[in-house]
């Protein structure tokens, strides 16, 4: 039964690096699982932690936030703020005893098509092992 499980991963991809990296993976015809729903954002720092929690509570099996490598942000320093907010959210997940593996922060540049494919493949495998998000069937959220 568990083998049939295809996770849904919400990906917040920064418009300048990670989204372009995803594009490159596509144009390079790299194979990776169709589990990720990309949402393009202008910068990874546009992602309020509340977006991530919303996706998670609405039943996303995982949420990926991806942006430019530190130092390469199109807006100079946006991704540094992302990292702090993400660390904060992750700590909250851990302290509340929620599965912090279901949220992930990765840096993928526009030239890293293969890395993008790899990240999605690895993360999908990991979430497959973890199983579906328990929030999916909850009514009293």
């Amino acid at each position: 039964m568990k083998d049939d499980f295809e996770p849904t991963i919400i990906g917040f991809l920064c418009r300048w690096c990670s989204y372009a990296g995803a594009d490159l993976a596509g144009t390079s015809r790299l194979q990776y699982p169709p589990s990720m729903l990309p949402i393009r954002v202008m910068c990874s720092s546009r992602v309020d932690p509340v977006f991530i929690i919303t996706a998670f509570l609405r039943g996303a099996d995982a949420v990926l936030v991806a942006g430019c490598h530190p130092g390469d942000c199109h807006y100079i320093e946006g991704n540094y703020y992302t990292r702090r907010r993400f660390a904060c959210l992750r700590k909250i997940f851990e302290t509340l005893g929620m599965e912090s593996d279901r949220i992930r922060l990765s840096w993928i540049s526009a030239s890293e098509g293969p890395r993008f494919a790899q990240v999605v493949t690895d993360y999908t495998d990991k979430i497959k092992k973890l199983g579906p998000n328990p929030a999916k069937k909850e009514i009293f959220l």
């Binding site: 309020d48 509340v50 959220l141």
Partner: protein, 368 residues
């Protein structure tokens, strides 16, 4: 060691005397402190300019009708004070105000901060009918002994920051002979200048006495007990649903929270409401959903927004109509977040809120 002015009067009277001196000598133009409301037994913060009205003040009363941090922010939101005023606040209220000032929601200018070593405050539910008055003798006994006072707010009973940061004047209460003497610690230059000319004995003293250290140990132990108590909240989503499931969505906790300052809170806005299509897709997935939705989202969302600055004042637990132990949860989770960034909210006004700054090389453990 710092300078202490010893006034040979009870602590409460001593502070009244101090306020009277400050007002009458013109060193401050006003005083903000807890004051009796008529004879109803209730107390509230009031601004006073007439020194005769000081007899109705209760500067050290163990109650927090509103977090004064929020009130000071409201006084100075539009512009800084033009005239100096003295405020008598609890240490966590001062910390909350400092956090608000960092968020440009107030100004420190022209404030003379008077605070005290604090043994906590009583929950608001016993604030009426003179119930606090019945407990006062036990409270002051605990203060004198340096014990955790009985029946105080849960977060007070585990508060480790009961020695005020940033106060100009600190009244020593914990472990002191408060019936006979009022020890006024002058912790800043401004504090020293403000009492120049006042009657009393100026000596050297130490605020961090053995009693204070002992109380800190007791509080630390109590904190561990409170946080590790399985009854507080079960781990994981099921625990969240159980604890926050009874939330009625009044948002009172954010209304009284001194850190929640947004007047257009996202959780009160239309953005927070579901589109009809969202209900439709959610129902397709689940076959049923709670109305109103997004309760858990609201609470975790608030944790991400203010957890970093939570001072654990306990206002949220007090106003919760369904008795969710909010402040204990927020202090526990917020405390972990604060530790990640090695941050003590309200300790220093120069230290920026960690989420507004960054280091180029850090936190690689959260990246994958």
């Amino acid at each position: 060691m710092s300078k202490v002015l010893r006034i040979s009067k009870g602590a409460e009277q001593g502070v009244q005397e101090l306020l009277k001196f400050l007002l009458e000598s013109g060193k401050v133009k006003g005083v903000l402190t807890l004051t009796k409301i008529n004879n109803s037994g209730a107390v509230d913060y009031s601004l006073i300019t007439n020194s005769e009205m000081l007899k109705d003040t209760l500067p050290l009363f163990p109650l927090m009708p509103a977090n004064a941090g929020k009130l000071l922010s409201r006084l100075t939101l539009k512009s800084a004070l033009a005239e100096p005023i003295a405020v008598v606040v609890k240490p966590c209220e001062l910390r909350a105000f400092i956090e608000l000032v960092k968020r440009e929601q107030g100004s420190l200018e022209n404030f003379l901060f008077i605070s005290s070593t604090c043994d906590g405050v009583y929950p608001l539910e016993i604030s009426s009918n003179g119930e606090v008055a019945k407990k006062l003798s036990k409270y002051w006994d605990a203060v004198k002994k340096g014990d955790i006072a009985p029946d105080i707010r849960p977060t007070c009973s585990c508060c480790e920051h009961f020695l005020p940061y940033n106060a100009d004047i600190t009244i020593a209460l914990i472990g002191e002979n408060i019936d006979k003497e009022c020890a006024v610690f002058l912790t800043t230059e401004k504090g020293k200048k403000s009492v120049e000319g006042m009657k009393g004995q100026l000596v050297e003293g130490e605020l961090k006495t053995q009693e204070v250290k002992n109380l800190l140990n007791k509080r630390e132990a109590n904190k561990k007990k409170l946080f590790d108590d399985p009854a507080l909240m079960q781990d994981g989503l099921s625990g969240l649903i159980e604890t926050f499931g009874r939330c009625i969505g009044c948002h009172g906790c954010s209304r009284v929270c001194p850190i929640c300052y947004c007047t257009l809170c996202t959780f009160d806005s239309k953005d927070y409401e579901n589109e009809p299509s969202t209900y439709e897709t959610e129902l397709k997935k689940r076959g049923g959903m709670r109305v109103p939705p997004n309760t858990i989202l609201y609470h975790i969302g608030r944790l991400t927004h203010i957890g970093i600055s939570c001072v654990g004042c306990g206002m949220c637990t007090d106003v919760c109509p369904v008795d969710i132990p909010l402040s204990t949860i927020f202090l526990k989770v917020g405390g972990e977040v604060q530790q990640t960034f090695n941050y003590i909210p309200g300790k220093s006004v120069e230290e920026k809120v960690p989420l507004t700054i960054f280091e180029k090389e850090e936190l690689t453990e959260v990246e994958d």
